[in-house]
Amino acid sequence: MADSKKTDWFRLDNAATIFPGQNTGEWSNIFRLSVELKDNIDPELLSAAVRNILPRFPSFDVRIRKGFFWYYFEKNPGGAPPVLPDINNPCHRVRFKENGGYLFRVYYHLNRISVDTFHSLADGHGAAVFVLSLAAEYLRLTGVSVSYNEFARCISDKPSGSELEDSFRKFADSNGKIKLGAEKCYHAGKNKLPKHTVNITSGIIRYSEFNALIKSLGVTATEYLAALLLDIHIKKQACEVKRQRNVCIQIPIDLRRRFDSDTLRNFTVCLRAVIDPNLGEYTFDELLGQVHHQLVLASDKKILNAMITSYLKAEQNPFLKVTPLFIKDFGVNVGFSRTAEQSTTALLTNLGAVSLPEDMKPYVEKLMFMPSPGLRNASRLGVATVNDKMVITFSDSFSETDVEREFFTHFIKRGIHVKIESNRY
């Protein structure tokens, strides 16, 4: 982000550099955040709200351009992207010249505002701040008085340098080495849906009920959900094939609290919870213990620092630096098409409990976080909690629904009420 005050362009952050090269019809690197309000959305007010908040979020008010060696962002002179009626198959790939050059799309449907964000712009936290600030501004335009907090930011404030910094560059200073890459894992998906079809299944759970359950077990929400996914996939694999591969859940974690960062760009790394079914049969409680210990160990700040330093070193490799962009893109594309998601069975990304300003809470129904469907992952889950409602959203491009069914009926069996919403019917 150096030079951003002097010029209208800035570099992509370390995590963001990989995404433009991976951007294909089948793997879009776009995720969706939806905020559901009490009343139906007025598209004109929403459009005005987008225009109002964009100057406050310069990292979103950009278009992506090609340099000779790297992509870069520059301020988008377009004003604001259009506000569109929602579609059934969100998170389709971004075209850099469409949508006025903006790398996020704003949709509305009934009482829901949805923003599809290209991952090069921000991670889930950064996008959540943008979307909730947009919802807060929209509510203000409807005549509601809404105050500010860390998620619904004051749009009259000037964007701070810390919000726009590349925290990877700022904090990566480890001498440790982390081995990147991993072994092949089990994949549950079998029958692909037709192109441009996405299955979305959201389960809405009362967070207080779920919280009481995880508190009694002494684990976090992410650990519990990851263990549940592992359990389902291990059993599914045992029924399907003789050769048992590792089952691995990929879990992006937010580094902001660990490194005291306030960036609205990418600052996450992916941890892995892995079980080798060949070791023997695991009970659900044993899986909870495994996931808990694996994640606690991997979340050590020094290990995380070594991870981000390794990623940064890969980007700063002198040979890679002087390689022309089209060759980098080709390499990323070919490499990714061969190895995509082969080391992960499923993805679980938890935004956590999002705090809203007190005067905004009565107007917000729920928050939905949806990752883009993967190439091989039959389950990619996004979790977001607001106002005691936890929304767990599956998105995939496979016709089977057995993982979703096992997942949500698990809560029913534990006496936790689940409401299902889907784009299927």
């Binding site: 009934l110 441009h196 629904t401 919403e421």
Partner: protein, 235 residues
């Protein structure tokens, strides 16, 4: 408020089936169809434009440009025996306008393409034939009427086809009529100028499309034949 009897989960009021197990929702007193527009997700599916389309079109454009440039240079500087390169350049340009240009359009615009293609063919024929020292009158008396007939038939076909979804047998009949009209116009012009081979060819085409038209009309009227053909030749 409805629940899935198999999964035990609460379902959205607009759900007709449980998304998890496909079990039908039975709500005797509820009219689900009346609140379909209240479904939690939009039913409009967005089909993104295929990026490769433009890329492939650009590659073909570059490939087509190479022989044009080479022929132009050779004709101008090395083999100055007439403007023979114009044949190559105009032919390639015509191919580009008719085949490649539509790939660059974000949305298919049949009337726009009809207009551009007609204009391109008129210009092409206007440039091409005088260079071959053909009779200058040829353009007005022969080429223009034939191009006008073809263009008019295409315009009528576009208008007809865009009205509503047509059955393939109707499409066959319509295409046959178009070809018959064009061959009739060509035949009349050939007879007028006493071009025997042109008149004979036109009559052969005309009679062939008449039989095709008869086949289309027969299929269109007989549901049994249509069903049999669709069963045997489905794609």
């Amino acid at each position: 408020m409805s629940y899935c009897v198999k999964c035990g989960v609460e379902l959205d009021d607009t759900a007709k089936k449980c998304p998890l197990c496909n079990t039908a929702v039975y709500m005797p007193n509820a009219d689900i169809s009346s609140n379909e527009d209240q479904a939690p997700f939009s039913q409009v599916k967005m089909i993104p434009m295929d990026a490769k389309k433009e890329f492939i079109a650009s590659v073909i454009t570059v490939l087509l440009a190479i022989p044009m440039i080479v022929c132009g240079i050779v004709n101008l500087f090395y083999r100055k025996d007439g403007l023979w390169s114009v044949y190559v350049i105009t032919s390639v340009l015509l191919f580009w306008v008719i085949v490649i240009l539509p790939f660059y359009l974000k949305k298919i615009r049949p009337y726009l393409m009809w207009f551009i293609d007609t204009a391109a063919v008129l210009v092409y024929v206007y440039v091409f034939f005088p260079l071959r020292n053909e009779n200058a009158n040829y353009y007005l008396t022969v080429a223009l009427p034939i191009i006008a007939a073809v263009s008019l038939c295409v315009l009528i076909f576009i208008k007809w086809a865009r009205g509503k979804e047509r059955h393939w047998s109707s499409v066959i009949i319509h295409l046959a009529i178009d070809i018959a009209v064009i061959s009739a116009v060509t035949g009349i012009i050939s007879l007028y100028y006493s071009v025997v081979w042109g008149a004979v060819a036109s009559i052969i085409v005309f009679l062939s499309v008449l039989s095709l038209m008869a086949f289309g009309i027969y299929c269109n009227r007989s549901a049994k034949v249509r069903a049999w053909l669709e069963k045997k030749f489905f794609i």
